[in-house]
């Protein structure tokens, strides 16, 4: 590790403020492994050797009332897609909650809800309360690149009693994402209303990123975003292998593990065993959680858990 990088990571560990030169050192380094080691140290200070994961079952918002069987393995039922109206959103939540039992129901992108409210904060607060009272456990996500003035939005979330499962970078990726990561790190209110920060953009959304840029982004997120507890990767969207390696570069939570296998390939290739095996192979203890980030059980480290 270069002396400069050593000095910057030490400064981060001590809680010191980074200056422009420190920032250039972090984003410009080619020493990926050194960056990973520093980020891994930071994640272990918060989460020790635990990696949490959630098995998610997606329910399209426009078919929520007619959703088929909800799988037993789901730790989260997630309404996906943009609702056409506030009433449709509330109805979808009620329809799924009625069948969800104890499984948390999440849904919606915060910017979609803002759109339905005409970007009027007072109305957004009312809608969030209505959704919470209908049974919504968390808002699925908020995109940082759409939050030009985030603190008032965070305050509305806080007073409504709803939190956001994850803060994403929206459409920002690669080197363009680094300044946004840095900005997120300055949002004091984010940690109170955002459970996790997901620094990688789903693969299908644009030009593919590279393994180096993805891991650098995850590591920088852990090193810089001290105000949000978890750094999250997406099992389905980021690719299993990249997501697993990211666990050694600062990530501690895995989203979007399927609740249903796409093919019946037997127990060893079931989604739950697959994620357990990958987490353990990365050197961590696998903890299954639900959509409210509550631990359900610790998976056995042995092959036949």
């Amino acid at each position: 590790m270069s002396d400069d990088l050593t000095a910057v990571t030490a400064k981060i560990a001590d809680g010191g403020a980074l200056d422009e030169r420190d920032w250039q050192t972090l984003t410009g380094t080619r020493d990926l492994i050194a960056l990973g080691v520093a980020a891994d140290d930071a994640r272990r200070r918060r989460h020790a050797d635990r990696v949490t994961f959630v098995q998610v079952f997606d329910v399209p918002v426009d078919t929520a009332a007619h959703a088929g069987t909800l799988p037993d393995q789901a730790g989260e039922l997630r309404l996906t897609g943009r609702p056409v109206s506030v009433a449709a959103a509330v109805a979808a939540v009620r329809a799924v909650v009625a069948r969800a039992g104890s499984v948390p129901v999440t849904g919606f992108a915060l910017e979609d809800l803002q759109g339905l409210c005409g970007h009027e904060l007072g109305r957004l607060g009312e809608v969030l309360i209505e959704l919470r009272e209908a049974g919504l456990a968390l808002v699925t996500e908020a995109a940082a690149d759409t939050l030009t003035d985030p603190e008032p939005v965070f305050e509305v979330l806080r007073t409504s009693g709803l939190t956001v499962a994850r803060l994403t970078l929206g459409d920002a990726a690669g080197h363009a994402a680094f300044p946004l990561v840095r900005r997120v790190a300055t949002w004091d209110g984010a940690g109170r209303v955002c459970r996790a920060f997901a620094p990688l953009r789903p693969a299908e959304s644009s030009l593919p990123t590279t393994g180096y840029s993805d891991l650098r982004q995850v590591a920088l997120a852990r090193l810089l975003v001290d105000n949000i507890d978890s750094i999250q990767v997406d099992w389905s969207g980021d690719g299993h292998k990249l997501a697993q390696v990211a666990l050694t570069f600062g990530a501690d939570d895995v989203d979007a593990v399927p609740a249903v296998a796409s093919d019946d390939l037997g127990w060893r290739r079931s989604p739950r065993e697959d994620i357990r095996r990958n987490i353990v192979a990365a050197g961590f203890a696998a903890v299954r959680r639900n959509g409210c980030f509550e631990a359900l059980d610790v998976c056995d480290r042995s092959e036949h858990a």
């Binding site: 393994g211 180096y212 993805d214 990249l242 192979a281």
Partner: protein, 402 residues
């Protein structure tokens, strides 16, 4: 010996014993393995270059009597979807390869009892007659052993005849894990035992050919057997110096008799790093993006690899087992440069051939790899009737064709 002292020994230029290597693999954090492997890579390749080759991975037949339990590609003798590529089909593939700047075919196939040694000699001779400068990187040790058995000629004679016909170098396929306990479990001991694989490579190197070496891990082997595999390769390299590069990849379980689950991305990076650490007499380690995908393929460059392998153009074996990744030259170069290295084209013996070709002339982008033949194409090459078949179905087919 502690992990720390083993690391110090390695950084001082020492060679690890099998026991030390195993202890390092079991106990060292992934970051330390990566750091050690990266240090060795940087020592061996201080100029910051990462190389790749433009060639085509062609499987001339999928008919195979070996019946390895980890293989999803082979078809038994007489199967409706068994195929043998014709000379003209292969010429067309070479033309397509040359058009994108390719320099060789990586030519491997099943152990087809109905393709005698003369078929290979005629094919290689015909290729060299039409494309004198084009290289044939062909026939892994088990294929050479199969031809030896089929022709009842010693391996050195088979190698000599094939070299005379046009064989340039030998791929290191079929090694799997060079431990006979594992080979028996994988049902691949009959195609070549560990000693036989190494003996064939010794013959190849003594004949003046260069070869690669490989390892397929993550099936049924123990960790110490991976280390034993690496140590056996290291011993032979000490003796002959004939290996140009080493490639490791994970067993791909889909559609195979053996089944099971694929080893993880971390397993791959750790195994690659360990390989760089143990194989201190190998100059080059290739990334296996075709099994790991582009992202972990690129990360290989931080874990000991100095070469992104082949553009491939075509791939059949790994695809049959469920992995379908594609990287054309532009994508390989983008990944190399994004990791902070300079990209250079090379040939099989790692002579540098130049800068990326797509920057010199327009080359169509490729988003998926070609396959040997389209599904349902049951064409039987006309020239096959010139060669005697060994199997009963083959004899019957040749009788009808002639």
């Amino acid at each position: 010996m502690s992990v720390e002292s083993t690391a110090e020994k390695l950084l001082a230029g020492g060679r690890l014993s099998a026991e030390e290597a195993l202890e390092l693999y079991v106990s060292a954090p992934t970051s330390l393995l990566g750091r050690l492997a990266d240090t060795i890579r940087a020592r061996k390749h201080p100029t910051g270059l990462v190389t790749y080759i433009i060639d085509r991975n062609v499987n001339y037949t999928n008919v195979c009597v070996a019946r390895c339990s980890f293989c999803a590609f082979y078809r038994p003798v007489g199967a409706d979807d068994g195929y043998v590529l014709g000379f003209d089909e292969l010429f067309q593939k070479i033309d397509e390869t040359l058009a994108v700047g390719g320099v060789q075919l990586l030519l491997q196939g099943g152990h087809n009892p109905d393709l005698p040694l003369e078929w290979y000699e005629d094919l290689f001779g015909a290729v060299k007659a039409r494309y004198p400068d084009f290289k044939l990187h062909a026939l892994s040790p088990p294929e050479l052993l199969h031809l030896s058995r089929l022709s009842q000629q010693p391996v050195p004679v088979v190698v000599d005849r094939l070299v005379r016909a046009g064989l340039d170098s030998v791929p290191g396929g079929g090694a799997e894990i060079l431990v006979d306990r594992v080979r028996r479990l994988l049902h691949c001991d009959s195609k070549a035992t560990a000693d036989e694989w190494l003996s064939v490579m010794r013959v190849v190197h003594r004949a003046g050919l260069r070869s690669t070496a490989t390892m397929m891990y993550g099936s049924v082997e123990r960790l110490e057997e991976r280390v034993e595999h690496l140590c056996r390769l290291r011993e032979l390299q000490d003796e002959t110096g004939g290996f140009t590069a080493f490639i490791t990849w994970s067993y791909q379980p889909s559609n195979t008799e053996l089944g099971g689950a694929e080893a993880t991305g971390i397993d791959y990076l750790r195994t690659l790093a360990l390989s760089r650490i143990v194989l201190d007499n190998f100059d080059n380690l290739q990334a296996s993006w075709v099994t790991q995908g582009g992202k972990v393929g690129q990360l290989s460059l931080a874990f000991g690899a100095n070469d992104m392998g082949s553009v491939m153009i075509e791939e059949n074996v790994v695809r049959a087992a469920g992995a379908e990744y594609c990287m054309d030259e532009a994508e390989i170069v983008r990944n190399i440069e994004d990791a902070g290295f300079a990209a250079k084209r090379r040939n099989m013996v790692y002579d540098l051939l130049g800068d990326p070709l797509f920057r010199e002339r327009a080359i169509p982008r490729r988003t998926e790899l070609a396959i040997a033949r389209q599904a349902g194409d049951a064409t039987v090459p006309a020239e096959l009737s010139r060669y005697p078949a060994r199997s009963r179905p083959g004899k019957a087919r040749r009788a009808v064709d002639s």
